[in-house]
Every structure is written in C-alpha cells, then in structure tokens.
Symmetry: C2
C-alpha cells in the first residue's frame, strides 16, 4: 500500500479522489460515470442506511419497492418534472440482443419497445401512478412509504460519490389529506436528516428552504440541509420536498374526506443518497487519510501488536485477543491485526488511511506494565492507558471523538461564515475565504442567476427561522428584508 495521497493544500479535488480510491471506498468502473462501491465504502454506507432506516421506521414509515423503469409518457404528466429530468435520462428502447451477420452481438431491431422506458431518475411519477390505486378515502391516509433504490441521472461531469450517473439513495413518498400535514411531514423529515448528519456523521448542517431557481422539478417548496466542506464549498446533503397537489393532479389521485368531499391528495418526497459518503469524507478527513466518526466507522478500534522476536508473537496474540473480546463485549467494533508479515509502521499508516478512530498498540513492555498505547485518529494524540477497565475508557474515548469531530466542523463553519454588505465585499470573501456568505438579495430569480454567472456562487438556502433584517441587494441595491446564504457548492 503506497499512500501517495495528494495533500489538500496542493489540490483539494485530487486529494478527495486519491483518498476515496486509496482508502478503498469506491473506484471508477468500465461504465461511463458509474462507480463501484468497494467493500470498505459499502460497509460505511450500510451503517448510514441502517441508522436512517431505523429513523424512518421510528417516524412511522414503511419500506416498499417500485419498478426501476418508468414509461416515457408518465414523465410528460407533470410539466416541470419532465423539464427537470428529460435531459439526463437513460432510455431503454429494446429488449433483446442477437447475433449479427459477422457473429458479433447486436441489438435486435425486431425487439423494439412500443413505448420507451426511462431508468428512474426519481420515482414520483411511477409511485403516484400506483398511489392512484391505493388511495380512495381519508382512511388510506397518511400513506408513509420509503424506498431504498438505485437511480440514474445521465451526468456529464461525474465525481466519485458526489455526482455519478448511477447512485444509491432512499426516496420517501408520502400522501396526506391536508396541506398542513404534508408540510409538517416535509419539515419532520428535514429534521431527521439534520439529526442524522449532525449526530451520526458529525457534520453540522444548516436547514433552509431553496429559492425558486433551485427548487426540485415538480415541488412547491424544497427544503434542504447544507453542509460546508473543508475547502469552503457547500454541499447539499439532503432535500425534502413539499409537492403540493402537483403529482396528485398529474395522476388523478383523489380521496373522499370524512365529509364525503373529494379532493386531491397532498404529497411530499425526500431523499438522501450515497452523496453523503462524499460529504463525510470531505468534511473531516486529512492528508493522511479518512477521519471517520465512531458511530459510522466499520472498525472503531484496531489493536496492533508490536512483535519483538519470535517468542513474542504467541504472547501478544493471546493478549490482543483478550483485549479484543473485552472491547467487543461492550459493543465496540474491533479488529485485531495479528498479522506478522507487515511491520507496525505499515499497519499504523493503513489504519490512519482507513480512518479507524482508535488505535491500540500493544508491546511486550506494555504487557509487563499492564498498559497499552492508545492513539486517536482525529487529533493524533497518544496516551498510555492502564488496561484496567479498558473497555470503558475506549467507549468514552469513542464518544469524545464523535463529539470532537462534530465540534471541529462546527467551529470551522463558524470561522467560514461571513456577512457581506457590498458587491466588492461579497466577491472578495468568495475569492479569499470561501464558505457561507450571508447577504441581502432582491428576491428575484434573475438576480440570483446573474450572481451565479458572475461568481459561480448560488443561494444555498434561506435558513429556517431566518432573522428579518432590512437591507439592500448586494448586486442590484434593491430592497431586501432578509439575508440569504450564498456559497460556491458541489
């Protein structure tokens, strides 16, 4: 394992790619824009998925599964939806291959579909077409369903985890009797996402609402959580949409209320994806490798024996296995790296690359003294600990690391959030510091677009519970009643 990770200072973007590949999270595939999620990366994703899935179930949602393919005509039914997704769709047109004249494999022209099928970029249309059969009266509401699935959006410029043609995600699709209930659901799931990002991933997020320009295609309101990466760029980590009655009208989904009146159903949808893996890497890691929050780390502690001579091997193996069992008994995920082919230095570097939160080194001298050397990945601090109650000490250490990672990211964000009160200040902040910039904006899509063209900065969101404050748009000088959050973003 040659590390050779480009330092962040030199090229942040290359550092990210190097790290994702060298740490064994993902790799490019033979299919343009698609990635392979490798076992170590998938183990982290599984932990994310399981934690989120439990939160969805705890808030009353059930999982289901809808078809991968969507008939082309379904897309046309919700006008802004098709506009949003038509340009990046994988289209299935045939259902058979055959041998060509020269023995090569060709698509059988006889096997052309009457109606083309779109590989789902998101499932609102196929799901609302199904809900039409499931919803008749208020008794069938609310309908609270989630799906874990793969989706495809034909991206021209892709990056591992952050933007790939195929990605894994979950998409919640709920149906309600009133607009109020649907909005409440939208906000509730935003809270679930924020809670997950902060307490599991250790990534502080700002909850807000998107401007019209940045809204999901087919939504009335798009709520989002926005995170800040170490290079000062923002990353949208999750969205929750209030869809109003748009899809219910497009697919004619009505229900009879308690009073017998018929009305269209109110909808939400919400999703997070494997993009979160990118956020996790970019928020915490350093030039030596990943820094994983203990709650998501597949291995929380690694025990490395420092062999000295043949006779030490059996002794240290026994001692290492004993510590492993003690830690496992309190629920810590432990690896005992007993291999005697690699040197400790190599193992140390590898455990840093993999972001294992705690490393426990155990030598013959330690054994005599009843101690171990414990190093934490986040701060790289080392300390010598008595092995008495080691499991409790490591448990506390893991909790400290989880808290510290979050606090560090929070402090970083605070240091990278500024106010700009003039165009010059805005441009200067963007170019010299990056991060979030709270600035006044005149509320028009035209100005937002113009700012984007001039600076590549977009309005990440209008934060929830935003303070009202009279001011003037940084670009047009027109009146504004609140600041919004700008940033350059992934």
């Amino acid at each position: 394992m040659a590390k050779e990770i480009t330092p962040r200072e030199k090229d942040y973007s290359q550092w990210y790619n190097d790290l994702v590949i060298k740490a064994g999270l993902a790799d490019y595939s033979a299919v343009r824009g698609c990635m392979v999620i490798k076992p170590y990366g998938f183990a982290i994703w599984e932990r994310m998925r399981d934690a989120l899935d439990q939160m969805f179930k705890d808030t009353g949602h059930s999982n289901a599964y809808f078809p991968l393919f969507i008939p082309k005509s379904f897309f046309s039914k919700e006008a802004s939806h098709v506009d949003g997704f038509a340009k990046e769709c994988a289209v299935v047109t045939h259902y058979r291959l055959k041998n060509g004249e020269n023995g090569e494999i060709i698509v059988d022209p006889e096997a052309k579909l009457e109606e083309e099928l779109i590989v789902r970029p998101t499932s609102e249309t196929i799901i609302w077409n199904t809900y039409k059969d499931w919803i008749q009266s208020y008794r069938d509401l609310p309908l609270l369903i989630n799906q874990w699935a793969n989706v495809v959006r034909w991206e021209m410029r892709t990056r591992l985890f952050l933007r790939t043609t195929e990605f894994l995600w979950q998409e919640g699709h709920t149906a309600h009797a009133t607009a109020e209930e649907a909005v409440e659901e939208t906000r509730k799931m935003l809270d679930v996402y924020a809670h997950f990002a902060e307490t599991w991933m250790g990534v502080p997020v700002i909850k807000g609402v998107k401007t019209t320009n940045e809204r999901f295609a087919g939504a009335v309101d798009t709520y989002c959580i926005e995170a800040l990466m170490q290079d000062g760029k923002a990353l949208q980590a999750g969205t929750s949409h209030f869809l109003g009655q748009n899809f219910a009208k497009a697919f004619d989904v009505q229900f009879a209320g308690q009073d017998g009146q018929r009305d269209y159903v109110w909808a939400t949808s919400w999703g997070v994806s494997t993009r979160l893996m990118g956020a996790l890497v970019m928020a915490h890691s350093d030039d030596d490798g990943l820094i994983l929050p203990p709650k998501l780390a597949p291995i929380q502690a690694i025990i490395v024996p420092i062999y000295k001579g043949e006779e030490s091997i059996a002794i240290l193996r026994e001692a290492g296995e004993k510590i492993k069992k003690e830690l496992e008994a309190v629920g810590i995920r432990v690896k005992f790296d007993a291999d005697d082919k690699y040197r400790p230095g190599y193992k140390f570097a590898d455990s840093e690359l993999k972001g294992i939160p705690v490393r426990i080194a155990l030598g013959m001298r330690d054994l005599e003294n009843g101690t171990v050397e414990v190093a934490r990945r986040d701060t790289k601090e080392k300390e010598t600990l008595q092995t008495t109650d080691l499991a409790i000490k490591i448990t506390h250490l893991l909790e400290q690391i989880q808290t510290n990672i979050y606090q560090k990211a929070l402090d970083f964000r605070a240091s990278m959030t500024h106010k700009a009160d003039s165009w010059e200040e805005f441009e200067q902040l963007l170019d010299e510091k990056g991060g979030f910039i709270a600035a006044h904006w005149d509320g028009t899509g035209e100005t937002e677009q113009l700012i984007k063209e001039k600076t590549k900065a977009t309005i990440r969101c209008i934060p929830l519970n935003n303070a009202e404050e009279v001011g003037n748009c940084i670009l047009t000088g027109k009146p504004s009643k609140q600041r919004v959050l700008f940033a350059r973003a992934y």
Copy 2:
C-alpha cells in the same frame, strides 16, 4: 377488506395471485412484467435479506456494489453466457429525451450511445472485469464479495415474485486460488441457502446438482436447492455455481501464486431472489390466507380486544397494552389492534389473511379470569391460557409453530416423492400425483429434452450423496447408474 381468495382446489394458480395481492405482498405495476412490492411484502423480504446477509457475513463475505449497466461488448466475452442471456435483455440506447415538434416528449436521436448498455441480468461480466484490477497475487485471494441488487430479465410470461422482469436478489461473486477452494465455497453457500430455507422459511429443500441442460450459462457446475409447492410442482429456490476459470479467462484475471507462477483465478457465483417470497407463500399458505413462519413474520402476535360496550374500551386497551409490553420485552413482534371501528370477526379474518402466527383475543370475561384466548394460525387451534408467564408461553408457541410448519411441509414432500420404474408409471405419477419422481435416466441431454417435451417434467437435480443404483432409463431403457429427481416445476 373483502377476502375473495379463490380456493386452491379450484385454481391453485389463481389462489396464489389472489393471495399475494389481497394480503398486501405485491401488486402488478404499470410497467410490463414489473411488480410493486408492497409494504407488508417488503417487510417479509427485509427479514429474509437481513437473515441471509448475516449468514454471508458470518461466512466471511463483504457487500459491495457494482454498476447497473453492462457494456454490450462485455457479454460477448464469455460465449455461453451471452447465449443464455441475450434473448432477455433490456437495452439502453439513448441518454436524453427532448420535446418533439408537437410538444410531445421524444427520445433525442442526437443522444445515441456509442455502445449500448445492458441492464444487468446478472453481474458476472462487469464484476470480473473489475476483479481484473483487484487481483494480482495469491494475497488478494480469496475475494469474497456479495451484492444486493435489482436485476432485469425480459420475461415473456411473468408471475408476481416467481418470474418478473425486474426482481431483487443477492449475487455472491468469489475468486479463489484453487479449483478445490472454489468448489468448497460453492457447496458452502448451497448449505447456507438450504439452512436458511429450512430453519427460517420452514421450507424443506433437496440439495443437488443440475444436469448440463439446466446449468447456468457460463458455469462448470450448477448446484441448487429444490423445494416442493403444495400443488406438487417443484421450485428452484437458490443456485450456487462453480464457474471454473471461464470468467477469469474471458476477462483475463490472473494471479501470481506463492511460487510466482501465474494462473487464472477460480470463480463461484450464487444467488437467491424475491422468488423466495413466492416459495414461502406457496409452500405453507391456505385458502384463508398466508401462513408465515414466525421467524419471518413482521408481526408474530396480534392482540385483539373484544370490546363490549363503551366502558370496556378503556379497560381492554390498558390490558392489551400491558400484554403487548410483556411480549415485546422478550423480543416478540406484537401488534395491538386497539381500533374500535372494526369488529373482532373482521380483525380475525384479516390476521389470518396476513398470516400472523399467533392471535390473542382478550375480552372482559377473560380479564376477570386472568386468561386470554390464544389461536395459532397454522393449525387454527385455540386454547385458553392463564396470563401468568404469557410471554414465555407465546415464545414456546412460536417455536412450535416454526417447527410444525417445517414438519408439515416435510411430511407433504415425503408423501409426494415417488419412484417410477417404467415410462407408464412415470407418466401416471406425474399426472395423478405430481411431486418429485425418482427415476433412472440415461444421462444424455437429448433424452432429458425429450422427456421435457413429452411431459413438461424436467430433471430438478441429481441429489447430493445420491445412492448408486443400477437401472434402466425410463424413456430409452439404456443403462443408468443412479436415479435423478424429476418434477414439473415453476
């Protein structure tokens, strides 16, 4: 909820469809051959998936994720593989839609792919193309990877769960240094499948090896587990393939051995799918609904209060909640159906339809006597139980039900397995009894094919550890050294 399930005697096939739909397991979708897995069905599948996933991890496998799309040219690389799958492939040819002249949505002819992409029907080719980069030396072996994914095979005749265009499955793909190791892996995973089918699903299976005709496209040997459904038809419930060096050669995956010699890698692949849901339904259920093994039932016990008058509602709700907590405390999955809008008779029928293993009815008289009425779904027996230690009693009852369901299916299979020693006997058994028929066969693909054409019966497998026995082929009279298992099959 009108039940209206066609009785098995009248039309077994219709009974199955009715049951799958009425019990809320799955539904047809707007996309030809694709199904929607509904929340109740998905909850059962989730339990299957989690149990299997743990078994895979316990046997040293890691999960990963590979692309949905496979470049067309990859298929051509393993000759028998493309023959096996080319006729049923969904083919992506374009990556964009646009507005047509009349405002309709059309496929953009400008956005044609240079090389068409196949929606994976199985992932050997894309995975072995990836393994080429992952495997250099014996140190990289064995490589033990599993993927949970959706796959697409363009089936002409589809049935919910049993045969659908898109289905969910897992596919294990392992790489080994020797043929022996790979065969051992193939057999180990077959054992895992058999163990899961028998101890979790309560479905007894016969482990065996497929004939050449029935072998997976690209395999050297295909092992399988075969189950028997209540109508006497067999169902292939899982397969495990020894792939030899076929895919390693097709994708040039070589490794350097400890001696420095290079050789092609040995491979296995193995999979089970949502088809298991069909097997589960057809193996146990009756005309009143599902019969679910307790280990897989999303709800293991339902408590139904028998309200009598307004004043009983609060009292029985409190008592019901108390029982619920007691049962949950020992890990039983319980639903307390406290609703006072539906009558008990309706709730009873619904819990039978859903296959909830244990029903606990609680009335005012019971409360006075410190008893409840407990009904088991599998035998429909009822008994009055003292509520003392109820959680322990229900735990035991659930274990009994799990065992009984399996034993019943095992007895049924024994009663439906016969020997045939002549063609007349063979045809008569097939038409009058169905089930498995152990008969001599001359070992040729031609005879196997002829038998299939004449009777629709196929060789399900040559059972493992099959007894040697000299005999004559039932069709050709040619010599045979063992009986093989025939059946009509799903």
